[in-house]
């Protein structure tokens, strides 16, 4: 075998691919659960410490299990490339996510206005809040992708 042929060898041996749809199902669940954890961390204080600590610990355990399952699923695999339809759907999912965030923000605003509740953003929770919102956005996007990408399960293979 010549040295040249070594360099020309196919180094991109095909690994089995995880379907994009399945990947986004996992991603949606993981991101949304992660976002609730971080939003919970942003809201924790002296008064709700016991309740939130238990809930956050439970969420952390579930996330850990999901993480292990996810990495077991993708180990030795590639994630399926997005084709033209997937890109179109992702674009739609992005727009729906933006719309959903506006609605969610509006509802929170209304609840706060109606109940007189307030929420302080300061140095102690700003990072958690920001990270939580980022995860929430990514989770919603994956969720909308899964919903829009649905096909009837009884399709012929």
């Amino acid at each position: 075998m010549s040295i040249r042929s070594l360099f020309e060898a196919d180094t991109t041996a095909k690994k089995p691919a995880v379907e994009l749809h399945s990947y986004h199902k996992f991603a949606a669940a993981g991101y949304l659960l992660g976002s609730f954890t971080f939003l919970g961390m942003a809201m924790i204080n002296r008064h709700n410490f016991a309740v939130l600590a238990v809930l956050l610990a439970a969420a952390a355990v579930i996330e850990l299990i999901m993480c292990v399952k996810f990495f077991a699923m993708i180990k030795g695999h590639t994630i399926q490339q997005a084709d033209e339809l997937a890109r179109q759907i992702m674009y739609k999912a992005g727009r729906l996510t933006a719309f959903a965030l506006i609605i969610v923000g509006g509802i929170i605003e209304l609840i706060f206005a109606a109940t007189g509740a307030s929420f302080t953003i300061d140095g102690s929770n700003a990072a958690c809040l920001l990270f939580g919102v980022c995860l929430f956005t990514a989770g919603l996007r994956s969720l909308f992708f899964v919903l829009l990408d649905r096909t009837d399960s009884e399709e012929e293979e």
């Binding site: 379907e19 994009l20 749809h21 084709d83 033209e84 339809l85 997937a86 009837d152 399709e155 293979e157």
Partner: protein
């Protein structure tokens, strides 16, 4: 709006080809082929030509629009 009609399913059956196999040949996901067969997705010219090439036919033969 004109409706997309396709003979993709017929051609696939004629060639005894599964949706997954066709998807792999043209580099898309199986979901895309399912939607194409149902007329729910208007493919790019490149994808239409790739599919036509797989079945040794023309794009016009495979896809048409009906008012």
């Amino acid at each position: 709006m004109p409706e997309l009609k396709t003979k993709l399913k017929e051609y696939r059956a004629k060639h005894d080809m599964k949706q997954g196999e066709l998807a792999e040949l043209v580099g898309v996901r199986r979901e895309t082929i399912i939607r194409l067969e149902k007329g729910l997705y208007n493919p790019s010219l490149k994808l239409a030509m790739d599919i036509a090439a797989v079945f040794h036919t023309t794009v016009e033969e495979l896809f048409s629009f009906e008012e």
